[in-house]
Amino acid sequence: MSDHAATAKTGGGALFTPFNIIAGVIVLIGLGLTVMRFTGGLAAVTNLTDYNPWGIWIAFDLLCGVALAAGGYTTSAACYIFGLKRYHGAVRPAILTAFLGYSLVVFALHYDVGRPWRLPFPIFLQQGTTSILFEVGLCVFIYLTVLFVEFLPVALEWQGWPRLRNLLVKLTMALTILGVILSTMHQSSLGALFLIAPSKLHPLWYSAYLPLFFFVSSIFAGLSMVIFEGSLSHRWLHHKMDQGHLDASVQVVLGFAKAASLVMFGYLILKVFGLAMDNRWHYLLTGYGVWFLVEILGFVALPCYLYALGAREKNLTLIRRTSVLAVLGIVVNRFNICLVAFNWQLSAADRYFPSLGEIGVSVFVVTVGLIAFKFITTRMPVFHEHPDYPDHH
């Protein structure tokens, strides 16, 4: 009952809220771009060329999308495997974010690949097992299924299907471990994708450690995203949260900030190892070196320090602001590897810059995610416990 009242308050009643108007305009633009893409080909919407076959639909929608959806496996692993029960309140929002994130990654890929209806081919028709992309595809496909099953109890509680819901909840542990395995593999494989092109990626970013960099950075990306997403939800969906969730969220912010800071510190050390192993120090004095340092110092070392400071002083505002910086840092890193430092030896005329159409589709994809997130959290027991299942802890 209270759900229906809240729905009416948040949008069901007033159709022309600022959120709905802006989202509606973006969706309309997105639909227009969709028509252009599938009638005029990739050239009608993108700036992609033969030199630059991958643009922001890969750099942002795929690489950043998957990294920022890592909150699902980090949070559920912390809660269920490492036994940190006090983070339980963060699991459902994180699983939902991850499920939507991966769904959107797959959705966005339908724009990028030439013949999206063939996306099942590598899995069911002919397996290119030597390809890192095969590993990515297979893992993302299975993990999306896992996330769906992990999320399903929420929808079943909402719809009132207790028997199936209780059966699925029993699978939590197995699904969590499976999720960590699959995430380890495809998060690292997204970095490994670029191992095959040592002649194209700038030596400061190219490293045999690339898979490790991607995996470790996905951990703090996921943690930061949980904090960031939490602060947005608190602002806009506060009324949907029960006391248990609100009490736990402070613990989540402090704990995740500390964990993210530690993982970032480890990542920094790994980065130094990477430079030292390949003896790439001299590149630091070039233009690319300055940009590399901006990425490492400004978008990893700084948030690492600020998280630690925030956790020690219990400064929630500082931590929440830092999470924005950390999330941006992931975007900067993925863009650097996929676009900025890739094809670095080509002349400026042959380099890539995204078109408005590409940006439009990416904004459209994120907006679809926001709409789905809002739809689900205002109706289903994500930020609060369902009265019939109070003890899912």
Partner: protein, 350 residues
Amino acid sequence: MNRRTFLGLLGAAGVSLGASSASHAASAADVKGLPDSGAVLFDATRCIGCRKCEEACNAVNELPKPAAPFSDLKVLDTARRTSDAAFTVVNTYHPAGAQAPVFRKIQCNHCLEPACASACFVKAFQKNESGAVSYDASVCVGCRYCMIACPFNIPTYEYNEALAPRVRKCTFCEPRLKEGKLPACVEACPKEALVFGKRREIIHIARARIMDNPGKYQDHIYGEHEMGGTAWMTISAAPFRELGMREDLGVETAGSYTAGALSAVPVVVGMWPVLLGGIYAVSKRKERIAEEEKREAVAEAIARASAEAEAKLSDELGKAEVANKRRIEVEVKKALEAAAQSQTSGEDKQ
């Protein structure tokens, strides 16, 4: 062990695997330069930039006719690359110290172990015995990872095609090879700058030209070993980098760069469940022990408290008893004294 040390260990495992790259040895042993596969030698000292090869390629592959005719040699003034409308292009270079411009023909090099084939997640690319690296458009999803992977920037894409875009590249004229014909560009070359043969013979020819003309050529056959070796090879008077060719590609096959990461997969699949299960068991056990200890402590505290209370009570009771006794004694004494006193006073009165 906490999570970070654990991740560190995992990383160490992955990296050591990457360094050893088990499949690398196997790939080199299997290939041995494919001596009997088809190959082509391009001799940059013989090319005159006439674009006859481009024209023949265009006709054989039924590609769209370019705006400027193939006889228009001004096209050579701008640097070009392969595209979905041109599987081969000739570019002009001006090496330092050279009297005349040098031309170089660009097309798919048909690697012995192609990066595109290694990268393709649907096995659309295949290295054939003919020497050709063929492409099967009927399974291609269009992810364009082959284009990312190719160290020579050869594969191109039909970006203008809405529903059935293909990757496009030189086919080595495989259909013609099957009919016993030469690749169209080789046949069209008026200066024999292109020679077709078995890879072993082609390498012999290239080496002979270098030996027979001391000082004329660079002492290197580009493609003999680059990226594990290619079917199309180049010899040149000018250093290869001055013809826009990468000299830093190395001799490893493209697949060897990803072999380490791929071989880490079974490690992750095998180790994570064991380790995570172990961590789960430990955290569960810790939880249980903590629970038990708590219960025990509580029970003990209760026991101690009740024992203490009992002791105190009995103590108090004892004390109270003593006090009572004393009080009674005192009272009795008092009463007796009082009685004695009243008796004496009564006696006094009498």
